[in-house]
C-alpha cells in the first residue's frame, strides 16, 4: 500500500502531521505497537528535518506484509558531510529553530537508532533523500 504526504519547509505548526497520519494507518493495520512507536519516532524526526532545513519535501510510504519503507525526499540545501550529520549533537539549525525546541542535533542519529535500515543520500543545493525501513516479521 502506498501513501504520500507533502511537507512544507518552515511550517513548524504542521510538523508531525504526516507522522501522525502514518501512525493511524499502522494502528489500523494491526502492526505491533513497538514497531509503530519506532516508525513514528523515526518519521517524525525526518519530517521535522524537512521542515527545519528544506524548502519543501514529500514523504512516500510503502507498506507490505514484510516491511514498512518510508522515503523522505526534500528540495533544500542538502548535507555537505553526511558522516558529520550522523554524529549525535551535531547541528546546523539556526538559534531561532533551537529556541522552538528543535535542532538539538539528534535527528538523524535518532532516526538511525529507531529504524531497522536507513539509507541517506544528498546533493548540496539540491536536496536530501532519507529512506528508512522497518521489518514487520522480526519473530522468525
Amino acid at each position: 500500500m502506498q501513501f504520500e504526504y507533502n511537507v512544507e519547509g518552515g511550517n513548524f505548526s504542521r510538523a508531525g502531521f504526516a507522522s501522525s497520519e502514518i501512525k493511524k494507518i499502522l494502528k489500523k493495520l494491526n502492526v505491533d505497537i513497538a514497531i509503530i512507536k519506532r516508525t513514528v519516532v523515526a518519521t517524525y524526526e525526518g519530517e521535522v528535518n524537512i521542515v527545519a532545513h528544506a524548502y519543501s519535501g514529500t514523504i512516500y510510504v510503502n507498506i507490505d506484509t514484510e516491511q514498512i519503507r518510508i522515503r523522505l525526499k526534500d528540495e533544500g540545501p542538502g548535507i555537505p558531510d553526511i558522516d558529520k550529520a550522523m554524529e549525535e549533537g551535531f547541528s546546523t539549525a539556526s538559534s531561532e529553530v533551537r529556541e522552538m525546541g528543535f535542532g538539538a542535533g539528534m535527528g538523524l542519529p535518532n532516526m538511525k537508532k529507531n529504524a531497522d535500515e536507513m539509507h541517506i543520500s544528498s546533493e548540496v543545493d539540491k536536496g536530501t533523500e532519507v529512506e528508512i525501513v522497518m521489518y514487520l516479521n522480526t519473530k522468525e
Binding site: M1, G16, K23, L29, N30, I33, Y44, I63, T65, L136
Partner: protein, 451 residues
C-alpha cells in the same frame, strides 16, 4: 468479539428518539444509529459519559445499585468523595449532609480522600524508580485508563499500577471495622459516585480481581435526598458522624480536582482534563513530539471529578467550594471538625501497601481493521476505495458518526454504502435507485416514525 468491559451506561431503547446527539459527541466513535435507536459498541465505549450529558430525553441511564441493598448488611458504610460536599452552597454543612445519610440508613460515613495519603507515598516511590517508563500516568480516572487501553495501547506500560483512593479508603475502613469486631461478610461499603466510569471500574476492575466496594450509589440520587431535607428545614444533629480520625490535609481535599495529583508529584508534571484535550495530547505524545515529562495527571471530565456526569452542582462552584475548604483548613479553620483521638491512616500503611497494587493493565487496541495484517491491508484498500464515493461531510445521516467510520463499517460488513445520502441522490439521478428504495433505507436507519 469477546466483551472486555462492564459498562455502567445503558441505553433505554424505549425512550431513545434516535436524535444522534450522542453519536456525534462520542470520543471513541462507539455509537451508531439503527432502526431509529442509538446502539453502543461495547468494546469501544470508555464510560466517559459524554453521551449521557447530551441526551435530550434521558434515554441514557447510569446503572446503580438499588438503595435498599445497603440493608443487606448490618454495617453500612457510605464512602463519600469530597466532591459531594462541593455540590451544595456554603450554607449546607457537612453535619447536615452526614445526618441525612445516617437517617437514610447508613451506619458509618467515611471520606474517600483519606485514601490519598498512602497512595501519594506509593506514587512517589514509583516516581523515584528510574527503571519505570516516563511519563508515568496516573490511573486515578478509570475512563482514562480505558481510553489508553483502547486508543493508546502503547502507553499501557506507562500507567501506574495502583488502586484509586476509594479502594484504599474502603480497604482501610473494612479492616478498621473488622478490628472492632464486625463480621466482614456483614459489612457493606457503598461508594457515592460522581461518574459512570467509577461504577464500571468497580463492577469489572481493570487488572484487579475483586473490589472492596459492595455497591455504588449515584451522586445525583443522594444529592436529591439531601437537598430535599435541607429545603424542608432539616438542620442536622450537631455532630457530623465522621469517625474519629486524623484530619484530612488541605492537599488531600483537592486530590480529585485538576492538578490535585500533579502538584504533589516530583519533577516535571502536567495535568490535563476533559477527554478531547487528553486525546489531543496523547496523540502528540505518541509521536514523541512531547518528551521530558515525568508525570501526567489525565482526567476525562472538564474540571476533573467536579464535572462528573452525576454531579448536580455547577462544576466551577464545586471547585471554588473545595478549594476554599482546603484554604481554610490550611489556616486551621476546616469546616469539618475531626475527633482527633482516632486513627492515622498511615499507621496502616503496611497492610494497605500490600494490597494497593494492580497486577496488570492490558492493551485492548480497537483501531485495527483486522487481526491479520494482510486482511487489514485488504480492508484498508476497500476503505480508501469507498471513501472516493463519500462526501467527507460527516453529516451522520448514514447512522455512522463520520464518512470514514461508515466506510469502515461497510468493510466490516455492518453497513452499506447506499446508507450515504449523497450516494443515494447520485444513484437516483443515475436511475440506479428508486426514491422509494432510498426512503426505505432511511427508515431502516432512522425509524419508520420519522418519515
Amino acid at each position: 468479539m469477546a466483551k472486555f468491559f462492564h459498562h455502567a451506561l445503558k441505553f433505554r431503547k424505549e425512550i431513545c428518539i434516535g436524535c444522534s446527539h450522542c453519536m456525534n459527541v462520542c470520543p471513541t466513535q462507539a455509537i451508531r444509529i439503527h432502526g431509529g435507536k442509538a446502539e453502543l459498541t461495547d468494546n469501544r465505549c470508555i464510560d466517559c459519559g459524554k453521551c449521557y450529558m447530551v441526551c435530550p430525553v434521558g434515554a441514557i441511564i447510569v446503572e446503580q445499585d438499588d438503595f435498599s441493598r445497603i440493608f443487606d448488611y448490618t454495617h453500612r458504610v457510605a464512602l463519600i468523595p469530597n466532591i459531594l460536599l462541593g455540590q451544595f452552597p456554603a450554607g449546607v454543612s457537612i453535619s447536615q449532609i452526614c445526618s441525612v445519610l445516617m437517617e437514610a440508613g447508613f451506619t458509618h460515613i467515611f471520606e474517600v480522600e483519606h485514601g490519598t495519603r498512602v497512595l501519594e507515598e506509593a506514587m512517589k516511590r514509583m516516581m523515584d524508580d528510574r527503571e519505570l517508563p516516563r511519563p508515568l500516568i496516573s490511573t486515578f480516572c478509570p475512563a482514562i485508563v480505558r481510553l489508553i487501553q483502547v486508543r493508546f495501547p502503547m502507553f499501557t506500560n506507562n500507567l501506574m499500577l495502583l488502586k484509586a483512593p476509594l479502594d484504599i479508603a474502603a480497604m482501610y475502613y473494612r479492616r478498621k471495622l473488622e478490628e472492632e469486631g464486625a463480621d466482614p461478610d456483614d459489612t457493606g461499603v457503598f461508594y457515592i459516585t460522581p461518574c459512570a466510569a467509577k461504577i464500571a471500574a468497580i463492577k469489572s476492575p481493570v487488572g484487579e480481581e475483586t473490589s472492596p466496594i459492595s455497591g455504588v450509589i449515584n451522586m445525583d440520587f443522594i444529592y436529591n435526598k439531601i437537598y430535599t431535607k435541607v429545603k424542608q428545614g432539616f438542620t442536622g444533629k450537631g455532630s457530623c458522624c465522621l469517625p474519629a480520625m486524623q484530619p484530612l490535609q488541605p492537599e488531600e481535599m483537592v486530590w480529585s480536582l485538576t492538578e490535585g495529583e500533579s502538584e504533589r508529584m516530583p519533577g516535571r508534571t502536567l495535568a490535563i482534563d476533559e477527554v478531547s484535550n487528553v486525546i489531543e495530547f496523547l496523540e502528540k505524545m505518541e509521536n514523541e513530539e512531547i518528551s521530558d515529562i515525568d508525570f501526567l495527571e489525565l482526567r476525562a471530565c472538564d474540571q476533573s471529578c467536579a464535572g462528573g456526569i452525576l454531579t448536580s452542582g455547577n462544576r466551577f462552584f464545586t471547585v471554588e467550594r473545595l478549594r476554599k475548604r482546603a484554604e481554610e483548613a490550611a489556616r486551621g479553620n476546616d469546616s469539618v471538625i475531626y475527633d482527633t483521638t482516632g486513627d492515622c491512616i498511615s499507621d496502616h500503611s503496611d497492610y494497605l501497601n500490600e494490597h494497593l497494587k494492580v497486577t496488570q493493565i492490558k492493551p485492548r487496541a480497537m483501531d485495527k481493521l483486522d487481526e491479520d495484517m494482510e486482511q487489514a491491508m485488504h480492508k484498508m484498500r476497500k476503505v480508501q476505495e469507498i471513501m472516493k464515493d463519500l462526501p467527507y461531510v460527516d453529516c451522520g445521516i448514514c447512522g455512522s458518526p463520520t464518512c470514514n467510520s461508515l466506510a469502515e463499517d461497510i468493510v466490516q460488513g455492518e453497513a452499506d454504502v447506499n446508507q450515504c445520502i449523497y450516494v443515494q441522490k447520485r444513484w437516483e439521478q443515475e436511475g440506479k435507485l428508486q426514491p422509494k428504495e432510498s426512503m426505505e433505507i432511511l427508515k431502516r436507519i432512522w425509524g419508520e416514525d420519522k418519515f
